[in-house]
């Protein structure tokens, strides 16, 4: 059965989950469509950033403001959290039990929060150097793009907490399973957006 058609993006629960697997198809497809819409949103914000990167209006530019080391750490944190969420998905699919599933999810949450902490620290040090959004078109565009991703991560963290709550309250019923699978898509999607951010914003800015 290894050649079976995948029903939706992300890890498929497979026939062992019966009706939950069948219910997943529409829900996951719908959420994936939403993510594509969100991708266009990010695409337009990226386009704004790329076309305003030189509009520093005499204010500080990328070299004065960006911190390569911090960006690298943030990248590793998000990548690690993608992996831990992958492990959570496997724990869900292969029924490793609630404690292991929740363990991986909490680990993901911690990584996500540490990522947010680093990001906030980045922003505050930028502020300290005079890099506030109202300073220039470039900084406005920066503070549209990177915090937008950060807000998505924050929303993902809140969602994670709620899902852990749902597992504790209802166990792994259909709605909870679909919630975890959707959040998995969301989380991996945000990691992909981050690839674009560190490449287009940080690396390109510091060349």
């Amino acid at each position: 059965m290894s050649q079976q058609v995948l029903k939706h993006p992300g890890l498929n629960l497979g026939p062992a989950h019966g009706k939950d697997d069948r219910a997943a198809e529409n829900m996951m497809f719908g959420f994936w469509v939403f993510l594509m819409s969100d991708a266009i949103l990010f695409g337009m914000v990226f386009a704004t950033y790329v076309t305003s990167v030189h509009a520093t209006a005499g204010g500080p530019g990328p070299h004065a403001l960006y911190d390569l080391k911090s960006a690298f750490i943030e990248t590793l944190l998000l990548l690690a959290s993608s992996f831990t969420f992958g492990m959570a998905s496997l724990a869900l699919k292969y029924k490793h039990g609630k404690p292991r599933l929740i363990g991986w999810m909490v680990l993901t949450l911690v990584l996500g929060m540490v990522f947010l902490g680093f990001e906030l620290h980045d922003f505050s040090s930028m502020f300290a150097k005079g890099g506030v959004p109202s300073r220039s078109g470039f900084l406005s565009a920066f503070f549209d793009l990177v915090p937008l991703h950060g807000l998505h991560v924050a929303a993902g963290c809140i969602w994670l907490i709620c899902l852990v709550g749902q597992i504790l309250r209802y166990g792994l019923d259909t709605a909870t399973k679909l919630g975890i699978m959707r959040l998995a898509l969301f989380w991996h999607f945000l990691d992909i957006i981050w690839i674009a951010i560190f490449s287009v914003v940080y690396l390109t800015g510091l060349t």
Partner: protein
């Protein structure tokens, strides 16, 4: 084939699938690490290559890493349902049209109006 043999078969198959999927995540992380580390290292130590070639390297590595994430974390391949694949390709097409079009238009405008938006 008896019922029991059938389930035993299924269990092994499932275990194999699990191992394969676990390896998929491990491969994904490994490749992603490599694809992240190289451009960061290049930017950090800036060996004597031109800015343009550095940008091209960054761009190519980013694209490849996105594909890695799609393949190994989101499990998207060619075994996908038709509408899923359509959707992804269509989104990629539109994203390209919109972003490339915007950059093209705004860059042309910047050149002609001497705005500080050109490299």
């Amino acid at each position: 084939m008896s019922e029991q043999a059938h389930t035993a078969d299924e269990t092994t198959e499932r275990r194999q699938e699990e191992r394969r999927e676990f390896h998929s995540y491990v491969w994904g992380v490994g490749l992603a690490l490599l694809l992240t580390a190289v451009p960061f290292a290049l930017v950090h130590w800036t060996p004597g290559i031109s800015r343009l070639s550095l940008l091209i390297v960054i761009g190519v590595f980013a694209l490849v890493q996105m594909l890695v994430h799609f393949r190994f974390f989101l499990h998207i391949g060619f075994k996908q349902k038709r509408e899923d694949l359509h959707l992804i390709l269509f989104s990629a097409l539109l994203l390209t049209i919109m972003v490339a079009g915007t950059v093209w238009i705004m860059a042309s405008l910047a050149t002609r109006m001497v705005l500080p938006a050109q490299p």
